[in-house]
Symmetry: C2
Subunit: 232 residues, 2 copies
DNA sequence: GCATACAGACCTGTATACAGCCCTGCGCAC
DNA sequence: GTGCGCAGGGCTGTATACAGGTCTGTATGC
């Protein structure tokens, strides 16, 4: 808060938008939200406009701000975009990352533990994103990291759902990716990443469907604070 | 204007930011700009916040809005990001674009004429971007188009400089790319695109240097309204 | 029962006011 | 001549007020 009220509102509203605490298509009442966050509408609208530029919120002239839609096509496109950036990043990381930076990524991966047991869905996704951003950082191109981060925000909600849906083999696949990076095997790294990241349209449709049901439940936020399903 | 004052301000300010009509690092005086555009500071700041989210303008709490920096490293990173997206787009276009959509892109390319003679630098870059966005559109993924567009805005100024610097073989390379797309030869399309798009760091440093000298000249805008150098 | 028109409340869009901070420029001391 | 401190102006940050438009809900007619 000391570093700017708009910044605080931006972060708070972003978190809400990312997690679909505003329901898809819902009109966002500036007055109510402003009062709730102890601010006036002026800085709130400034923060909202940033979210509009990030596609986390929609704006219709004369009507105000609305929560973005949640539809399978958009999510699918975002997954593909994510795959494009990540595979390109992995290829470049294999070619130009320093051995010590790669080693640091492995350390980070191992520091997260060998299993996802005992973690909440949210925590697992956070760690997953951190690993993938770590790969992007190996490229040494801040734009790659930034774009990936922006995309992650927009699919994070569905990733929570997805992570809860099935026992993901996240950890094992991360290790495989890590090995490919250490071997500096671009093609293998890209190939493993591709299958690790990408989802089929029918999987996405199912996740979106479940996402909707979560959104309209009583306390949807708690859902993702439960522990991940046991890995076998 | 009818479709929202903020939208109008956003478009106007974006054009200025893209073309470095604000000088790099310059503080943007809200009061002056607002008066100039016949608006109050409230909608102006809303528009500015969108530009902040798009990295076209910087914001420092307590100090206001500043024009973004113009430095070779950022430009280089953006070029690489552009290359990542474009090569991935071309590969996918080869695989999944319909033959008629590809034919439509060729029509667009030929409608632009067989040479860049008689066009201003601005016009050539506009057409160049349109062709590349056309490839991105072949993928059928709106995110790919959007991200490419965002990146293009941030390097457009340097592309103007670059297009004026040397007789670019733009048109010929576009034809080669087009042929690769028609042959659905992913690898060739990606390879040609890569050399067509990418710039070496020393080229970028030179362009940025020239960019600065243009920015601090009397009437920098006219510079890019001159005709492109004769192609031999 | 259903569609339509109207009225009222509500909400958005923008201007403006004002408090507080930042920066500049001047003066003073060294 | 140079560095530091202080005061003033100017700019930013936010709240608030108000005008205009949008939506809702009701009442009326078919």
């Amino acid at each position: 808060m000391s570093e700017g009220r708009v910044e605080f509102l931006y972060q708070t509203l972003k978190a809400r938008a990312v997690g679909f605490e505003f329901r898809p298509g819902e009109r966002i009442n500036e007055g109510m939200v402003a009062k709730e966050l102890n601010a006036s509408r002026t800085p709130l609208r400034e923060a909202m406009n940033r979210l509009v530029a990030e596609q986390l919120v929609e704006f219709r002239s004369g009507q105000g701000f609305f929560c973005r839609a949640l539809d399978p096509t958009s999510i699918f496109e975002l997954y593909e975009m994510r795959m494009i950036i990540e595979t390109a990043a992995a290829r470049r990381a294999c070619q130009r990352a320093t051995t010590s930076d790669i080693a640091a990524l492995r350390d980070q991966l191992e520091a997260d533990g060998l299993t996802t047991a005992g973690l909440t869905i949210r925590e697992v996704v956070t760690r997953d994103e951190a690993f993938h951003l770590g790969i992007a950082r190996l490229v040494g191109n801040s734009e790659v990291v930034r774009h990936l981060d922006r995309i992650n925000e927009r699919i994070r909600f569905i990733r929570w759902v997805d992570m809860g849906r099935r026992v993901r083999t996240t950890k094992g696949e991360h290790l495989k990716i890590m090995e490919a990076l250490e071997a500096r095997d671009s093609e293998r790294a890209a190939a493993v990443l591709k299958t690790h990241v990408m989802r089929r349209m029918d999987e996405i449709v199912a996740a979106v469907r479940e996402g909707y049901s979560n959104i309209f439940m009583a306390d949807p936020e708690e859902l993702f604070d439960r522990l991940v399903p046991d890995g076998d």
